[in-house]
Symmetry: C2
Subunit: 253 residues, 2 copies
Amino acid sequence: MRVSPASRLAVILVSPETPENIGLAARGMANAGVADLRFVGVEAPLPAEAYRTAVHAEGILDAARFFPALAEAVADRRLVFASTARARRNVPLLPLAEAVERVAEYPETTPVGLVFGNERTGLSGPDLLLSNFRFHIPQAARQPSYNLGVAVTLTLYAMAGGRRIPRTPAREAPLSLAEQEEAIRRFQALLDSRGFMHDTNRAFIEERVGDIFRRMVLTEKDRNIILALFRTAIGARTGRKDKTEGGELCPTK
Amino acid sequence: MRVSPASRLAVILVSPETPENIGLAARGMANAGVADLRFVGVEAPLPAEAYRTAVHAEGILDAARFFPALAEAVADRRLVFASTARARRNVPLLPLAEAVERVAEYPETTPVGLVFGNERTGLSGPDLLLSNFRFHIPQAARQPSYNLGVAVTLTLYAMAGGRRIPRTPAREAPLSLAEQEEAIRRFQALLDSRGFMHDTNRAFIEERVGDIFRRMVLTEKDRNIILALFRTAIGARTGRKDKTEGGELCPTK
């Protein structure tokens, strides 16, 4: 079965607070031919105001799914992009046009998740990091930000609409995000078990390691090779009892 | 003075009926750094509901101008694009991405007008033709259309935002739209005075001639050359008393 570029996209809204924005997002999905809508931090049923702005997109709201946490909402995705207006230290932020380029590098059957946070507060730090890439929609000023429903529509227009340049996928399909996260936890556990982490650098190393491997968008081959390399390298280096190893991964001023 | 790409854009809303959409359009303008908002068929002051959705864009609503007719609202523009979902016979419809390409062909100081019609009925036939080009935002299905505020935002994002590819303008600045229309009326009057139009083909010829010369986006040089050519050609041909000339411009089945 051939999955169309639009139908491989899922929109995940985390704790949206304005029902009209939910409806506007659904309408933008219908415009782009995207039907898979997921919620985190929202309880069914959706309020009537959401249906008022979901012109010709009521069916998308009816079919929406509700998840208790973001990890479950993106577990079946193989490529996850989180929307954020804020740049964070050490977390690269792609303009939307580059996020579109990244998606185009993968086979067009690759399931993609697009995550959008609360209108005022955006995504939490942990939710933001539960993605392969962070992206933002370039704008004239830091304030005002784009309306949530508009941001979803713009992103889908850029990803699925407009003039499409056909392109041969350059990469293999990645692992599902749940499998990517599991692999990252194994990498971190290996580092931890060999003394690479201690109380003062643990949070920093976990974040950096997570970020590096999420950006790699791991395939099954990648995971197996990296696990093998990790085991070999750590085994060899700890065999030398070099006490400075943990320190090398610490943040530098 | 160097006019930035965003500040050369003006948005003209013709008979919008939902105040929230006006506010959303203004917010999208602020996002893209565009400040020039014009109305046709709307009376000042704008309703309070428009300000509710114009987050951080209240100043754009305050500075908006009101015109009695579209011709006056676009008179100072040199390049006018009208948004429409409907294709009309003989009136080419550009996808948004191609409209962006057309704008990029002109010097970046060229004033551009972007015209959007009523949410349900769109632009009238005459208003639609009072533009150099008609464009639409590609979507998955003919219905639903994009929300008006979202359509403005998407268009401005494509024109002024996103990743800009620097480009050397290939064309001279055109006449103002008022001057272009005046030139077209002179061409039509010349054709009429020499018997090229009669009751059965007048509307058709006026529309085609108008469309052809609007698509040319006339410069001052263009106008002078065309006027000279017209006078010469018409003078020479009518001198030959060829009675079939009007018929050659009639629609053919």
